[in-house]
């Protein structure tokens, strides 16, 4: 089918979908008046039962902790998949030629790397307390490391993120999450049941396993995203013979 043909077919299918969507959306609770009994139950209990103040993080790593294991595995498998796809056809080492050579970019990068690194750790550490958590902070940390490439060089970035260490971080983060659940299971609890001391609300170690799983997911995110960045950059910087 040609592109214009697809557009016509899409308008027909999209129109039908739009009708169904409007019909379905008009049956939703009116905007701003969500009843949400499940959410209310969590809100009512989270500060007293879990000693955490960041409710979404508590849901991600405790109330729905098992779903997050699946999410971690998606992240893990996608990063491994990218590495497999690229490494299958790669025959040369990247030579490190990169077209950006701008002093301003380098200066801004040098200033931003430490700031972003601190911000990343801050966002991860406060996961149980204030907005943020392992996923958000992990991406910031991986981005801070990536700035070393922009501000410094490919060689510097490779020294900062040695491949075995990156792969170990990724595996340890995703695997550690699953292992924490198994250990609790062996000790007689339910899978990923919150058995650790809950600590004091507002503190960085509050929430028991929430703080632990938060850090493990941060490790997995740093490892996975750094692996992704490295694979794409290696691909980009590899000089290939013309077809």
């Amino acid at each position: 089918m040609t592109a214009p043909g697809r557009a016509v077919a899409f308008v027909a299918a999209g129109g039908a979908f739009a009708c169904l969507f409007v019909w379905g959306a008009s049956g939703l609770p009116p905007f701003g008046h969500y009843p949400g009994p499940y959410g209310d139950a969590v809100i009512a209990s989270v500060t007293s039962v879990r000693h955490t103040t960041n409710v979404p993080t508590s849901i991600v790593f405790d109330y729905r902790g098992f779903d997050t294991l699946g999410e971690e595995l998606i992240l893990f498998i996608a990063a491994i998949g990218v590495a497999l796809v690229f490494r299958e056809t790669r025959d040369e080492e990247a030579d490190g030629v990169f077209p950006i050579d701008d002093d301003e970019i380098r200066l801004q990068g040098v200033v931003l790397v430490p700031l972003l690194a601190v911000l990343g750790f801050e966002v991860i550490a406060h996961g149980p307390v204030t907005p943020g958590g392992g996923f958000q902070g992990g991406v910031i940390l991986a981005g801070a490391a990536l700035l070393v490439f922009l501000a410094g060089s490919w060689a510097a970035y490779r020294r900062l993120t040695p491949e075995p260490a990156v792969e170990l971080l990724e595996a340890a983060g995703a695997g550690g999450y699953a292992v924490v659940g198994l250990v609790i299971l062996i000790l007689g609890g339910a899978y990923l049941e919150n058995v650790l001391p809950l600590g004091e609300g507002g503190q960085l170690d509050s929430g028991g396993t929430i703080a632990l799983l938060n850090w493990l997911s941060a490790i997995a995110v740093v490892g996975s995203f750094t692996l992704l960045f490295r694979e794409f950059l290696t691909e980009m910087l590899t000089r290939r013979p013309l077809r």
Binding site: A3, Y34, G39, R64, I74, V85
Partner: protein, 114 residues
């Protein structure tokens, strides 16, 4: 106007899917897919919104203050992570297509393989 936020989500989904259906470039197609997926963030957050409520973070507000539904926020977080990683995996396929076949036009790729 109680339907408006839901309609925005539906519109973004359709705009993204239109791009996917008519794209002539795999990178453009993948970006359109992430646009389509981003509609789910708006839908989830719109569903959980409550008037005169604040974010479900009890660091600065006293318990009992009216907050929006936190469950959809947690779902949105999952959604974003999955979206980013799937986009990365798809982009690696686009790079491979360019390497092997010298094109990232879906029509030309299809012409090569029937």
């Amino acid at each position: 106007m109680t339907l408006f936020p839901y309609l925005v989500a539906g519109w973004i989904l359709l705009a993204g899917l239109y791009g996917v259906a008519t794209s002539r470039n795999l990178v453009h197609l993948i970006i359109c897919l992430t646009v389509a997926q981003s509609s789910t963030y708006i839908l989830l957050l719109a569903v959980g919104f409550r008037r005169h409520a604040t974010a479900p973070i009890f660091g600065d507000i006293r318990p009992g203050h009216r907050v929006v539904d936190p469950v959809v926020h947690a779902l949105t977080l999952t959604d974003i992570v999955v979206s980013a990683t799937v986009a990365a995996l798809l982009l690696s396929f686009a790079v491979q297509a360019q390497k092997r076949f010298g094109t990232i036009d879906p029509d030309e790729l299809r012409a090569m393989h029937g």
